[in-house]
């Protein structure tokens, strides 16, 4: 066969592949979420990029408090270094005898108290902001189970499914080990979403660091939290309250998409996985036979 024919064939098959991919994409209403992935990255030293106004506020308050406290630590550190140099036995062979100084004792009570007031004012304002879950666009009831999450879309009768972690051995390219799940929670961007959080067995922790959301999932009780996701994308969270041997194997994955895509997804999801009929992928820590070779890897 001639070389030209070969490349033509190759080009044709590429074209077919792309067309196929495009068709698949248009069929997946959550595709918009693939453009932006908000996941922890290697050597990360600060909070996640805020995915919600609440996380943006957490980021702001964190910087504000941490700068004040860094100032305090630096002040104490500088004071200590000065004392070590100025008053070590060589520099100051004869110790002083001062054990009281009323002014300075009053100062080191009042100045820290004022710093606390400066911290408390914005902090209390933010407690009230975090507690305000009124007027949501939609509510998702989140139930923690050993060891998966169950999402119930209150406004879409019958839409209730389970979300399992992808086992390490089945991770595909593009998925993140220990964070990606088989059926992510799908949410619309720009809308206020209320989470009603509970548990079906033991305590769990519904923890979404990039959205500034965290609440315990407690059996017999519901706690609420809320978020507004500002940008289409994929967001991650993990269970953050010890819940048994699969505690590290029940992550949360959220696909945030434009409202129209979300509505399209609800129809598709209702058709394909209503009433918890999603075949559960039985995932716990892989029961690998343990060899020394494994530990070495």
């Amino acid at each position: 066969m001639k070389r030209g024919n070969l490349s033509a064939l190759f080009g044709l098959s590429l074209l077919f592949l792309f067309a196929h991919a495009a068709a698949a994409q248009s069929a997946d209403p959550t595709a918009a979420a693939d453009a932006y992935v908000n996941a922890p990255h290697a050597w990360q030293m600060w909070l996640p990029v805020p995915g919600s106004p609440m996380e943006a506020q957490v980021d702001w308050l964190m910087r504000y408090v941490l700068w004040i406290m860094t100032g305090v630590v630096a002040f104490v550190g500088v004071l200590m270094v000065y004392v070590f140099i100025r008053f070590n036995a060589r520099a100051n062979p004869v110790p002083g005898t001062v054990t009281h100084n009323t002014l300075i004792e009053i100062l080191w009570i009042t100045i820290p108290s004022l710093l606390l007031v400066v911290i408390i004012v914005p902090s209390v304002k933010m407690i009230l902001y975090q507690a305000d879950d009124s007027n949501p666009y939609m509510t998702v009831t989140v139930t923690g189970h050993q060891w998966y999450w169950e999402y119930n879309y209150n406004a879409v009768p019958g839409l209730d499914y389970s979300s399992y972690m992808i086992p390490d051995a089945q991770i595909q390219p593009g998925e993140i080990r220990r964070l990606s799940v088989d059926h992510p929670m799908v949410l619309p961007v720009g809308e206020k979403i209320r989470f009603v959080i509970t548990s079906g067995d033991v305590l769990h922790g519904f923890y979404l660091p990039s959205l500034g959301v965290q609440k315990y999932a407690i059996p017999g009780t519901t706690l609420t939290s809320w978020t507004i996701i500002t940008k289409p994308g994929t967001y991650f969270g993990q269970c953050n309250q010890i819940c048994g041997l699969g505690h590290d194997a029940m992550p949360i994955e959220i696909k945030a998409v434009p409202l129209a895509d979300y509505l399209a997804w609800t129809k598709q999801a209702l058709a394909t996985y209503t009433d918890n009929t999603v075949p559960p992928s039985p995932v716990i820590r892989p029961q690998l036979p343990l060899k020394l070779a494994d530990a070495a890897n």
Partner: protein
């Protein structure tokens, strides 16, 4: 026996003790110094076991997808035992039972504790508790609910088997041990101070132990009640914490932290006391603002009972409760600040010698301030919603415990070991121990702040690969701390093989409390003639 000369020196006879057999002296001891020594040995064993567990944990976390620990169940048993052992069988016996027993009677000029037999009993309850907590670790699948023991995870349905019962009973045993010890300390300090030693002349370590003892008497019974309810739920069909039977898991969280937060101060107040003495001794100056220092501890102890639900900011508490508990918690920063600034003011104008105990003390002050700063961050309920239960919290409480309480234990050890054994520690190796440990623990715990900010949850045996870098650094730090502990073993070897003798007051002019008026090592019986304080 070497103490003969000292007893003769004090001309007090007391010869019946010289024929004591090993069993009579160590198993049936009623002597506060011997019981103190037993407590220190127990704390040493506890620290070694807890330390080995932490080494296993750091080796497992050194790489993602690691298999040093073979299952989540095993991992959970290890973290549970590590937390309980380090708190109840290392920090508390070292600071309260060990150094408290040894030095409170010496410092107040009392011949012994008020209730010597009770003292013995409280020690052996501790040992029994240790056996039980080890059974909880090793039997069956182990106890895997975390040291906080939150139900429903540790109820009969989710933690079947006897391991959890053993762990719960071990809490009872160690609780009784602490409670009896605390009652003994209160009785001793309030009634047996030498004539002339008013409360306001009492050394700060004794103040610290007194406040700690009151905290124990008030907090331990609440824990005992909560643990009893857990045992009833597990074994006798009650449903205190079972929602299906009208109970509430959140009730346990309230009861646990009503004990658990004072427990934090139970571990750190004795440390404050030791640091005050060490700083004053090596600055050759009396403590600055003595009364402020004493009452700061009283205030910390009091307010410490009013802040428990800051451990439950993301649990079921109301918005108003969050505001109250945040503000109350932040208030504690003020008396704590008084302590830190008073230590610095004690050094100010002093003539500071950086002997090993002083290195540990100034290391304590600086690292405790860092731990306190992150504590202020976490006290903010809105920030706790981000950081609760992640590695930022782990970093915070190890800065106040692994670097706070543990540094104070080592400061006290190097400060008083000559008084306890009569032999000096090797200064060079003491400093090597300090610097290697300082580098090791900082390298272990500082990167955990980053992991926490990035969102890594605690109690995970495996984690997303993005967290691998800082976990690796942290594990290297842990290995350095482990190696540093070997240096400490060598220091111990040198102390116990030393032939060198020490003067009564081997620290010189800066050491002014009563324990420096008795010989080194302190004879079995001291202050049979009651000293008078002017």
């Amino acid at each position: 026996m070497s103490t003969t000369t000292h007893d003769d020196f004090q001309a007090h006879g007391g010869h019946e003790h010289h024929q004591q057999s090993f069993a009579a002296r160590w198993l049936m001891s009623t002597n506060h110094k011997d019981i103190g020594t037993l407590y220190i040995i127990a704390a040493f064993v506890g620290a070694c076991v807890g330390g080995v567990l932490s080494m296993i944990m750091r080796l497992q976390l050194m790489y993602p997808h690691n298999h040093i620990v073979t299952s989540g169940t095993e991992w959970n048993a290890i973290i549970t035992a590590h937390g309980l052992i380090m708190i109840f069988w290392f920090v508390m016996p070292a600071l309260i039972g060990g150094m408290g027993n040894w030095f409170v009677p010496l410092m107040i000029g009392a011949p012994d504790m008020a209730f010597p037999r009770l003292n013995n009993m409280s020690f052996w309850f501790l040992v029994a508790g240790f056996v039980f907590v080890m059974l909880g670790l090793l039997l069956g699948t182990g106890t895997g609910a975390g040291w906080t023991l939150y139900p429903p995870l540790d109820n009969a349905q989710y933690s079947p088997g006897v391991a959890t019962d053993f762990t719960l009973f071990s809490i009872h045993l160690v609780g009784i041990s602490s409670l009896l010890g605390a009652i003994n300390f209160i009785a001793t300090i309030l009634n047996m101070r030498a004539p002339g030693m008013t409360m306001h002349k009492m050394p700060l370590f004794c103040w610290a132990i007194l406040v700690t003892a009151f905290l124990l008497v008030l907090a331990i019974p609440v824990l005992a009640g909560a643990v009893t309810m857990l045992i009833m739920d597990r074994n006798f069909g009650t449903s205190f914490f079972e929602p299906a039977g009208g109970g509430d898991p959140v009730l346990f969280q309230h009861l646990f932290w009503f004990f658990g937060h004072p427990e934090v101060y139970i571990m750190i107040l004795p440390a404050f006391g030791i640091i005050s003495h060490v700083v004053s001794t090596f600055s050759k100056k009396p403590v600055f603002g003595y009364l402020g220092m004493a009452y700061a501890m009283v205030i910390i102890g009091f307010v410490g009972f009013l802040v428990w639900a800051h451990h439950m900011f993301v649990s079921a508490i109301s918005t108003d409760s969050r505001i109250y508990f945040e503000v109350a918690t932040l208030v504690i920063a003020v008396p704590t600040g008084i302590k830190v600034f008073s230590w610095i003011a004690t050094m100010w104008g002093g003539s500071i010698e950086f002997k090993t105990p002083m290195l540990w003390a100034v290391g304590f002050i600086f690292l405790f301030v860092i731990g306190g700063a992150t504590g202020v961050v976490l006290a903010n309920a809105p920030l706790d919603q981000e950081l609760h239960n992640d590695y930022f919290l782990i970093a915070h409480f190890h800065y106040v415990l692994s670097m706070g309480a543990a540094f104070a234990i080592f400061a006290g050890f190097y400060y008083w070991i000559g008084k306890m054994t009569g032999h000096p520690y090797p200064e060079f190796w003491g400093k090597v121990h300090f610097w290697t440990f300082f580098i090791g623990v900082n390298l272990t715990f500082f990167p955990m702040h980053f992991l926490g900010l990035a969102g890594m949850p605690r109690r995970y045996p495996d984690y997303a690969d993005a967290f691998a870098g800082w976990n690796y650094v942290s594990s290297i730090g842990a290995l350095i701390s482990g190696a540093s502990t070997l240096v400490f073993f060598y220091v111990l070897y040198r102390i116990f093989t030393s032939k060198e003798a020490l003067a009564d007051n081997y620290w010189g002019e800066g050491a002014t409390t009563l324990e420096w008026a008795v010989p080194s090592p302190a004879p079995q019986h001291t202050f049979l003639d009651v000293p008078v304080i002017r």
